[in-house]
Amino acid sequence: MIFELSEDHQMMRKLARDFAEKECLPGLEERDEKEEFSRELFAKMGELGFNGVVFPEEYGGTEADYISYAIIVEELSRVDASMGVTLSAHLSLGSYPIYKFGTHEQKTKYLKPLAEGTALGAFGLTEPMAGSDASGTRTMYVDGGDCWILNGSKIFITNAFYADTYVVFAQSDRSKGSRGISAFIVEKGTPGFSFGQKLKKMGIRSSATYELVFEDCRIPKENLLGKEGEGFKIAMNTLDGGRIGIAAQALGIAQGAYEAAVKYAKERQQFGQSIAGFQNTQFTLADMATQIEAARLLVYQAAYLDSAGKPYGKASAMAKLFASETAMWVTTKAVQIFGGYGYSREYPVERMMRDAKITEIYEGTSEVQRLVIGSQILKEF
């Protein structure tokens, strides 16, 4: 067992950190305040090869591993959690299912621009009545002869409105439950496909979140992803990998808040000394550092298993569960260390705490992660 990053991974970290600090940090507060998505930053990431980092060169990727991917999302999120989730949703949710389940033609047409960074991807699974329970999908499709016809709507879709390519899940027959679900590739601009409300969020405010609306939306026959009825399997398989991205995002948020807290604790003077001089503060910082390190090992382990082609569902659920709860705890404590200033928008920990909360909710709530881990554990005995 080697508990050290390779030289490549260290270079990836430096690259992603430099990019986050030099490109994402300027204007970050304004983007958060105005809830502004930056397509320009997404394009810049594409030029550096972040957007298709794990995919084959043949389809526009750079053939690095999932540890590189996790490190990039972590480093982006350490500075800008919205950029972290933009990349994670684009790569793990919007692009991965096409890579994993798409035909050569679908990959050439859709994955290549996604991986090269000229196109942005999104994933449409969640609906008002189908959150943790994806089998409750009510968006319906019918075979229209020379096309598929979609009707229904999706909510909470990350990257929506700005994204060019959407992987959308729909049901053919509600009595079939999860076996009636199929996945489709839908292009922005397809007649009958529009956007509803923009979601006003607590955190990750410069990540775009919209509703998708399908009204007799006709999709070419060749845009069925996988086989009919395979949608649920595709969704679950995709979410297993997506968890690594969100776990890495949570890890980065925690790391950013922890660094800010240590720096502030050393500067802030109270009762004639820096607050870092108080054992109470030191204990909090020690707990932060320890939890972050544990989260990091879980995240990289899940990423390693994914890269090695080994089962990683349980590991990614554990990583996502632990890293997101660590992010929430660390950012809350960081705000406490900053005191009144921490509650103010003048300091970054306020934003980090708002950003952290979503990591316990999306791509499987903490409760769903425990469910995944629990059922897996019981199968193993």
Partner: protein, 256 residues
Amino acid sequence: MNIVVLVKQVFDTEAKIVIGADGRIDDSNVTMVMNPYDENATEEALLLKERLGGEVIAVAAGTPKAQETLRTALAMGADRAVLVSDPALQSVSDDYAAAQALAKAVSELKPDIILTGRVAIDYGSKIAGRVAEILGIPQVNTVTRLEVNGDKAVAAREIDGGSEVIEVTLPAVFSAQKSLNNPRYPTVAGIMKAKKKELKTLTLADLGLDATMSGKMQIVGYSLPAGRKGGRVIPGEPGQAAAELAKLLRSEAKVI
């Protein structure tokens, strides 16, 4: 066009310097980076290659760890790299020995252009001048603009209150100022390809140099600068406080 770029691995500018129990600087917990001015030199080398064709070879002298900095140059786009690493060269601050080794390594590569940073930010060494002198070729330092035409190069360099434009015949050495260009990021693809590019390690013996070649300096010891003393606030009404300040500047600080 054969372009050699000399790069040095240095402490990250934000690194906290710690002196170890052996009295030497402890680099075990320090992030090492490419000397920032060498990034400008590498960028210029790559721009020249894009314009004129040829090959960019990154060269460093240092410990085996300095390979990391050469990999960074390769990830940015250099074609191959040479590391001169020898126990006799471990004393990183001895510019004399480093320059001898680098000049020898460079001369074997038959470069038309040699680029490096104007100064290394760790020990303040300026290797460009030494290497040019050993090789007996022209040098232009603190370059802010560089144009190459055939076997001639025109470079603008910073001087007090202005700039000076100098024409030299190649081969020549140029040291880069920050404003020369804006160094590119390495890309993910660049990092992946860097692994497969040639990185040769040479000892002094490989270069035909005397391995017992000693430097010209001996480091006697290191000490950290004294910590900054706290400031002093003079209380009272502005007029009174100002009078008190003027008095103290005269009597205590003795600056007026």
